[in-house]
Symmetry: C2
Subunit: 202 residues, 2 copies
Protein backbone atom coordinates (compact mmCIF):
# COMPACT_ATOMS: atom_id res chain seq x y z
CA UNK A 1 0.00 0.00 0.00
CA UNK A 2 1.06 3.57 -0.47
CA UNK A 3 1.39 5.65 2.72
CA UNK A 4 -0.66 8.79 2.29
CA UNK A 5 0.79 10.71 5.22
CA UNK A 6 4.40 10.77 6.35
CA UNK A 7 5.41 12.29 9.67
CA UNK A 8 9.02 13.28 10.28
CA UNK A 9 10.21 13.80 13.83
CA UNK A 10 13.82 14.86 14.27
CA UNK A 11 16.65 15.97 16.47
CA UNK A 12 17.57 19.62 16.06
CA UNK A 13 20.23 19.98 13.34
CA UNK A 14 19.79 16.46 11.92
CA UNK A 15 18.31 17.71 8.64
CA UNK A 16 14.83 16.30 9.25
CA UNK A 17 13.16 19.31 7.64
CA UNK A 18 15.30 19.09 4.50
CA UNK A 19 14.61 15.36 4.33
CA UNK A 20 10.87 15.96 4.74
CA UNK A 21 10.90 18.49 1.93
CA UNK A 22 12.80 16.13 -0.38
CA UNK A 23 10.40 13.27 0.40
CA UNK A 24 7.41 15.51 -0.39
CA UNK A 25 9.00 16.50 -3.71
CA UNK A 26 9.85 12.92 -4.63
CA UNK A 27 6.29 11.73 -3.93
CA UNK A 28 4.45 14.86 -5.09
CA UNK A 29 2.93 15.28 -1.59
CA UNK A 30 2.02 18.53 0.16
CA UNK A 31 4.65 19.64 2.70
CA UNK A 32 3.74 20.98 6.15
CA UNK A 33 6.41 22.60 8.20
CA UNK A 34 6.25 26.41 8.13
CA UNK A 35 2.82 26.07 6.46
CA UNK A 36 1.59 24.28 9.58
CA UNK A 37 2.90 27.07 11.81
CA UNK A 38 1.11 29.59 9.59
CA UNK A 39 -2.17 27.67 9.87
CA UNK A 40 -1.92 27.40 13.66
CA UNK A 41 -1.01 31.11 13.94
CA UNK A 42 -3.93 32.12 11.75
CA UNK A 43 -6.48 30.00 13.62
CA UNK A 44 -5.20 30.83 17.11
CA UNK A 45 -4.59 34.53 16.60
CA UNK A 46 -1.01 34.23 17.95
CA UNK A 47 2.03 35.32 15.93
CA UNK A 48 3.99 32.74 13.91
CA UNK A 49 7.06 33.34 16.09
CA UNK A 50 5.06 32.59 19.22
CA UNK A 51 3.52 29.45 17.73
CA UNK A 52 6.90 28.27 16.52
CA UNK A 53 8.37 28.61 20.01
CA UNK A 54 5.47 27.27 22.03
CA UNK A 55 4.07 24.55 19.78
CA UNK A 56 6.91 22.09 20.03
CA UNK A 57 9.31 22.81 22.82
CA UNK A 58 7.53 24.65 25.63
CA UNK A 59 9.05 24.36 29.06
CA UNK A 60 7.65 21.47 31.04
CA UNK A 61 5.00 22.03 33.66
CA UNK A 62 7.23 20.60 36.35
CA UNK A 63 10.29 22.71 35.51
CA UNK A 64 8.04 25.72 35.13
CA UNK A 65 6.67 25.10 38.60
CA UNK A 66 10.22 24.67 39.86
CA UNK A 67 11.19 28.05 38.40
CA UNK A 68 8.10 29.65 39.84
CA UNK A 69 8.83 28.34 43.31
CA UNK A 70 12.40 29.68 43.08
CA UNK A 71 11.23 33.10 41.99
CA UNK A 72 8.37 33.21 44.47
CA UNK A 73 5.74 33.43 41.72
CA UNK A 74 2.16 32.36 42.14
CA UNK A 75 -0.05 29.67 40.64
CA UNK A 76 -1.92 32.32 38.73
CA UNK A 77 0.86 32.73 36.17
CA UNK A 78 1.19 29.00 35.88
CA UNK A 79 -2.45 28.57 34.93
CA UNK A 80 -2.29 31.42 32.45
CA UNK A 81 0.84 30.23 30.65
CA UNK A 82 -0.32 26.62 30.48
CA UNK A 83 -3.76 27.51 29.33
CA UNK A 84 -2.01 28.94 26.24
CA UNK A 85 0.27 25.94 25.66
CA UNK A 86 -2.60 23.50 26.12
CA UNK A 87 -4.86 25.54 23.85
CA UNK A 88 -2.15 25.58 21.17
CA UNK A 89 -1.67 21.82 21.50
CA UNK A 90 -5.37 21.12 21.03
CA UNK A 91 -5.52 23.41 18.01
CA UNK A 92 -2.37 21.83 16.56
CA UNK A 93 -3.88 18.38 17.12
CA UNK A 94 -7.08 19.29 15.27
CA UNK A 95 -5.26 20.94 12.35
CA UNK A 96 -2.91 17.95 11.94
CA UNK A 97 -5.87 15.55 11.93
CA UNK A 98 -7.60 17.73 9.35
CA UNK A 99 -4.69 18.11 6.91
CA UNK A 100 -3.93 14.38 7.18
CA UNK A 101 -7.53 13.68 6.12
CA UNK A 102 -7.37 16.18 3.26
CA UNK A 103 -4.77 14.39 1.15
CA UNK A 104 -1.23 13.00 0.82
CA UNK A 105 1.30 15.07 2.78
CA UNK A 106 4.53 15.17 4.75
CA UNK A 107 4.26 16.73 8.23
CA UNK A 108 7.37 17.74 10.19
CA UNK A 109 7.40 17.60 13.99
CA UNK A 110 4.73 18.89 16.40
CA UNK A 111 3.90 15.46 17.85
CA UNK A 112 2.36 14.52 14.50
CA UNK A 113 3.62 10.93 14.91
CA UNK A 114 1.61 10.63 18.12
CA UNK A 115 -1.44 12.51 16.88
CA UNK A 116 -1.66 10.21 13.83
CA UNK A 117 -0.45 7.02 15.52
CA UNK A 118 -3.65 5.09 14.85
CA UNK A 119 -3.94 6.01 11.17
CA UNK A 120 -3.23 2.92 9.08
CA UNK A 121 -2.01 4.83 6.02
CA UNK A 122 0.74 6.77 7.81
CA UNK A 123 4.47 6.24 7.93
CA UNK A 124 6.29 7.67 10.95
CA UNK A 125 10.01 8.47 10.64
CA UNK A 126 12.54 9.79 13.15
CA UNK A 127 15.84 11.40 12.08
CA UNK A 128 18.87 11.75 14.34
CA UNK A 129 22.62 12.21 13.92
CA UNK A 130 25.78 12.49 15.95
CA UNK A 131 26.65 15.78 17.63
CA UNK A 132 29.49 16.80 15.28
CA UNK A 133 27.29 16.48 12.20
CA UNK A 134 24.48 18.47 13.81
CA UNK A 135 26.74 21.14 15.30
CA UNK A 136 28.42 21.76 11.97
CA UNK A 137 25.04 21.95 10.27
CA UNK A 138 23.40 24.46 12.61
CA UNK A 139 26.39 26.79 12.43
CA UNK A 140 26.29 26.68 8.63
CA UNK A 141 22.51 27.17 8.49
CA UNK A 142 21.77 29.50 11.40
CA UNK A 143 25.20 31.06 12.07
CA UNK A 144 27.04 31.47 15.35
CA UNK A 145 24.85 32.34 18.36
CA UNK A 146 25.30 32.77 22.05
CA UNK A 147 26.50 29.50 23.56
CA UNK A 148 28.37 26.69 21.82
CA UNK A 149 26.53 24.78 19.07
CA UNK A 150 26.72 21.67 21.25
CA UNK A 151 24.96 23.49 24.08
CA UNK A 152 22.30 24.81 21.69
CA UNK A 153 21.64 21.31 20.37
CA UNK A 154 21.36 19.89 23.84
CA UNK A 155 18.98 22.58 25.07
CA UNK A 156 16.69 22.44 22.05
CA UNK A 157 16.38 18.64 22.09
CA UNK A 158 15.86 18.60 25.84
CA UNK A 159 12.90 20.95 25.37
CA UNK A 160 11.43 18.82 22.56
CA UNK A 161 11.85 15.71 24.69
CA UNK A 162 10.07 17.31 27.65
CA UNK A 163 7.30 18.77 25.49
CA UNK A 164 6.72 15.38 23.81
CA UNK A 165 6.62 13.55 27.14
CA UNK A 166 4.26 16.12 28.54
CA UNK A 167 1.71 15.89 25.75
CA UNK A 168 2.04 12.25 24.68
CA UNK A 169 3.33 10.41 27.76
CA UNK A 170 5.88 8.72 25.50
CA UNK A 171 9.68 8.75 25.26
CA UNK A 172 10.92 10.97 22.44
CA UNK A 173 13.14 9.04 20.00
CA UNK A 174 12.20 5.55 21.24
CA UNK A 175 12.33 3.46 18.06
CA UNK A 176 9.13 1.53 18.82
CA UNK A 177 7.12 4.73 18.32
CA UNK A 178 8.25 5.11 14.69
CA UNK A 179 8.24 2.89 11.60
CA UNK A 180 11.79 3.81 10.73
CA UNK A 181 14.58 5.79 12.33
CA UNK A 182 17.65 6.90 10.44
CA UNK A 183 21.04 8.38 11.29
CA UNK A 184 21.36 11.18 8.73
CA UNK A 185 24.98 11.80 9.71
CA UNK A 186 25.86 8.27 8.63
CA UNK A 187 23.76 7.93 5.47
CA UNK A 188 23.44 11.56 4.32
CA UNK A 189 20.34 13.73 3.85
CA UNK A 190 19.63 12.64 0.26
CA UNK A 191 19.87 8.91 1.01
CA UNK A 192 17.53 9.23 4.00
CA UNK A 193 14.95 10.99 1.81
CA UNK A 194 15.32 8.24 -0.80
CA UNK A 195 14.77 5.44 1.75
CA UNK A 196 11.71 7.11 3.29
CA UNK A 197 10.16 7.72 -0.14
CA UNK A 198 10.85 4.08 -1.05
CA UNK A 199 9.34 2.71 2.16
CA UNK A 200 6.29 4.95 1.77
CA UNK A 201 5.37 2.74 -1.18
CA UNK A 202 5.62 -0.57 0.72
CA UNK B 1 32.17 3.09 2.38
CA UNK B 2 31.13 -0.48 2.89
CA UNK B 3 30.19 -1.45 6.46
CA UNK B 4 32.20 -4.50 7.44
CA UNK B 5 30.21 -5.43 10.51
CA UNK B 6 26.45 -5.24 10.97
CA UNK B 7 24.85 -5.67 14.36
CA UNK B 8 21.16 -6.50 14.61
CA UNK B 9 19.35 -5.90 17.87
CA UNK B 10 15.71 -6.89 18.00
CA UNK B 11 12.50 -7.31 19.91
CA UNK B 12 11.56 -10.94 20.52
CA UNK B 13 9.41 -12.21 17.63
CA UNK B 14 10.19 -9.30 15.29
CA UNK B 15 12.17 -11.48 12.89
CA UNK B 16 15.53 -9.85 13.60
CA UNK B 17 17.37 -13.18 13.35
CA UNK B 18 15.82 -14.02 9.98
CA UNK B 19 16.63 -10.53 8.76
CA UNK B 20 20.21 -10.86 9.98
CA UNK B 21 20.60 -14.14 8.16
CA UNK B 22 19.21 -12.70 4.93
CA UNK B 23 21.51 -9.67 5.16
CA UNK B 24 24.52 -11.95 5.65
CA UNK B 25 23.50 -14.00 2.60
CA UNK B 26 22.94 -10.91 0.45
CA UNK B 27 26.35 -9.46 1.35
CA UNK B 28 28.27 -12.73 1.59
CA UNK B 29 29.15 -11.99 5.24
CA UNK B 30 29.65 -14.48 8.07
CA UNK B 31 26.59 -14.80 10.32
CA UNK B 32 26.86 -14.96 14.12
CA UNK B 33 23.83 -15.93 16.10
CA UNK B 34 23.90 -19.55 17.26
CA UNK B 35 27.56 -19.65 16.19
CA UNK B 36 28.29 -16.95 18.73
CA UNK B 37 26.54 -18.93 21.48
CA UNK B 38 28.62 -21.96 20.52
CA UNK B 39 31.84 -19.95 20.74
CA UNK B 40 30.95 -18.53 24.15
CA UNK B 41 29.90 -21.96 25.42
CA UNK B 42 33.13 -23.52 24.20
CA UNK B 43 35.37 -20.86 25.71
CA UNK B 44 33.47 -20.59 29.01
CA UNK B 45 32.87 -24.26 29.59
CA UNK B 46 29.12 -23.69 30.14
CA UNK B 47 26.45 -25.42 28.07
CA UNK B 48 24.95 -23.68 25.02
CA UNK B 49 21.53 -23.64 26.72
CA UNK B 50 22.95 -21.90 29.74
CA UNK B 51 24.83 -19.33 27.65
CA UNK B 52 21.73 -18.70 25.54
CA UNK B 53 19.68 -17.96 28.64
CA UNK B 54 22.22 -15.96 30.61
CA UNK B 55 24.04 -14.04 27.90
CA UNK B 56 21.26 -11.72 26.85
CA UNK B 57 18.41 -11.61 29.28
CA UNK B 58 19.60 -12.41 32.77
CA UNK B 59 17.52 -11.13 35.65
CA UNK B 60 18.64 -7.72 36.83
CA UNK B 61 20.77 -7.39 39.92
CA UNK B 62 18.11 -5.31 41.64
CA UNK B 63 15.24 -7.72 40.96
CA UNK B 64 17.47 -10.61 41.91
CA UNK B 65 18.21 -8.91 45.21
CA UNK B 66 14.50 -8.25 45.62
CA UNK B 67 13.73 -11.94 45.13
CA UNK B 68 16.49 -12.92 47.51
CA UNK B 69 15.17 -10.64 50.22
CA UNK B 70 11.70 -12.10 49.80
CA UNK B 71 12.94 -15.65 50.01
CA UNK B 72 15.31 -14.92 52.87
CA UNK B 73 18.38 -15.84 50.83
CA UNK B 74 21.85 -14.53 51.56
CA UNK B 75 24.32 -12.34 49.74
CA UNK B 76 26.46 -15.36 49.09
CA UNK B 77 24.18 -16.64 46.34
CA UNK B 78 24.00 -13.20 44.82
CA UNK B 79 27.76 -12.98 44.44
CA UNK B 80 27.96 -16.46 42.98
CA UNK B 81 25.23 -15.97 40.38
CA UNK B 82 26.47 -12.58 39.29
CA UNK B 83 30.04 -13.64 39.10
CA UNK B 84 28.82 -16.03 36.35
CA UNK B 85 26.76 -13.41 34.48
CA UNK B 86 29.55 -10.87 34.64
CA UNK B 87 32.12 -13.44 33.56
CA UNK B 88 29.93 -14.41 30.60
CA UNK B 89 29.49 -10.75 29.64
CA UNK B 90 33.24 -10.13 29.63
CA UNK B 91 33.85 -13.26 27.56
CA UNK B 92 31.04 -12.31 25.16
CA UNK B 93 32.53 -8.80 24.86
CA UNK B 94 35.97 -10.16 23.98
CA UNK B 95 34.64 -12.70 21.46
CA UNK B 96 32.48 -10.07 19.71
CA UNK B 97 35.46 -7.70 19.47
CA UNK B 98 37.55 -10.54 18.04
CA UNK B 99 35.09 -11.76 15.40
CA UNK B 100 34.42 -8.15 14.32
CA UNK B 101 38.14 -7.71 13.75
CA UNK B 102 38.43 -11.01 11.84
CA UNK B 103 36.28 -10.06 8.86
CA UNK B 104 32.90 -8.95 7.49
CA UNK B 105 30.01 -10.36 9.52
CA UNK B 106 26.48 -9.92 10.85
CA UNK B 107 26.10 -10.30 14.63
CA UNK B 108 22.67 -10.72 16.23
CA UNK B 109 21.99 -9.38 19.72
CA UNK B 110 24.17 -9.77 22.85
CA UNK B 111 24.82 -6.02 23.26
CA UNK B 112 26.95 -6.15 20.10
CA UNK B 113 25.74 -2.66 19.13
CA UNK B 114 27.17 -1.30 22.38
CA UNK B 115 30.33 -3.40 22.35
CA UNK B 116 31.15 -2.17 18.81
CA UNK B 117 29.74 1.36 19.17
CA UNK B 118 33.07 3.07 18.48
CA UNK B 119 33.96 1.04 15.39
CA UNK B 120 33.70 3.29 12.34
CA UNK B 121 32.99 0.49 9.88
CA UNK B 122 29.92 -0.88 11.68
CA UNK B 123 26.24 -0.45 10.99
CA UNK B 124 23.89 -0.90 13.93
CA UNK B 125 20.26 -1.86 13.26
CA UNK B 126 17.28 -2.40 15.57
CA UNK B 127 14.18 -4.35 14.52
CA UNK B 128 10.80 -4.06 16.20
CA UNK B 129 7.16 -4.74 15.31
CA UNK B 130 3.70 -4.43 16.74
CA UNK B 131 2.47 -7.04 19.20
CA UNK B 132 0.04 -8.83 16.84
CA UNK B 133 2.74 -9.44 14.25
CA UNK B 134 5.19 -10.76 16.86
CA UNK B 135 2.61 -12.86 18.72
CA UNK B 136 1.53 -14.55 15.51
CA UNK B 137 5.14 -15.17 14.58
CA UNK B 138 6.27 -16.77 17.85
CA UNK B 139 3.29 -19.12 17.88
CA UNK B 140 4.05 -20.21 14.31
CA UNK B 141 7.79 -20.60 15.02
CA UNK B 142 7.93 -21.88 18.59
CA UNK B 143 4.41 -23.25 19.13
CA UNK B 144 2.01 -22.65 21.99
CA UNK B 145 3.62 -22.46 25.44
CA UNK B 146 2.53 -21.69 28.95
CA UNK B 147 1.18 -18.15 29.09
CA UNK B 148 -0.28 -16.10 26.26
CA UNK B 149 2.06 -15.12 23.42
CA UNK B 150 1.60 -11.46 24.43
CA UNK B 151 2.79 -12.25 27.95
CA UNK B 152 5.78 -14.21 26.61
CA UNK B 153 6.75 -11.27 24.38
CA UNK B 154 6.48 -8.81 27.22
CA UNK B 155 8.53 -10.93 29.62
CA UNK B 156 11.30 -11.68 27.15
CA UNK B 157 11.72 -8.07 26.05
CA UNK B 158 11.59 -6.82 29.62
CA UNK B 159 14.51 -9.13 30.44
CA UNK B 160 16.49 -7.95 27.40
CA UNK B 161 15.81 -4.35 28.34
CA UNK B 162 17.01 -4.87 31.92
CA UNK B 163 20.07 -6.86 30.84
CA UNK B 164 21.03 -4.16 28.30
CA UNK B 165 20.60 -1.38 30.85
CA UNK B 166 22.60 -3.31 33.38
CA UNK B 167 25.62 -3.90 31.15
CA UNK B 168 25.57 -0.78 28.94
CA UNK B 169 23.81 1.89 31.00
CA UNK B 170 21.73 2.73 27.91
CA UNK B 171 18.04 2.50 27.05
CA UNK B 172 17.25 -0.52 24.89
CA UNK B 173 15.54 0.47 21.62
CA UNK B 174 16.36 4.20 21.83
CA UNK B 175 16.84 5.17 18.18
CA UNK B 176 19.90 7.34 18.84
CA UNK B 177 21.89 4.19 19.73
CA UNK B 178 21.40 2.64 16.27
CA UNK B 179 21.99 3.78 12.69
CA UNK B 180 18.63 2.53 11.56
CA UNK B 181 15.55 1.08 13.18
CA UNK B 182 12.81 -0.66 11.24
CA UNK B 183 9.29 -1.88 11.92
CA UNK B 184 9.35 -5.36 10.36
CA UNK B 185 5.60 -5.72 10.84
CA UNK B 186 5.01 -2.77 8.57
CA UNK B 187 7.62 -3.38 5.88
CA UNK B 188 8.05 -7.16 6.02
CA UNK B 189 11.12 -9.28 6.80
CA UNK B 190 12.46 -9.38 3.23
CA UNK B 191 12.20 -5.61 2.70
CA UNK B 192 13.98 -4.90 6.00
CA UNK B 193 16.85 -7.18 4.96
CA UNK B 194 17.02 -5.43 1.59
CA UNK B 195 17.19 -1.95 3.17
CA UNK B 196 19.89 -2.95 5.66
CA UNK B 197 21.99 -4.56 2.93
CA UNK B 198 21.57 -1.43 0.81
CA UNK B 199 22.54 0.94 3.63
CA UNK B 200 25.55 -1.23 4.50
CA UNK B 201 27.03 -0.04 1.23
CA UNK B 202 26.55 3.70 1.90
Amino acid sequence: MSRKVITISREFGSGGRSIGKMVAEKLGYAYYDQALVELIAKESGYSEDFVEQRGEDATSKSSFLFNLSRSGGTGGNYDGVYAISDKLYVLQHNIIKRIAAEGPCVIVGRCSDYILKDEESCLHAFIHADTDFKADRIVRLYGEREGSPEKRLEEKDKKRQVYYKNYTGRTWGLSMNYDLCLNSGKFGIEKCAEIIAELAKV
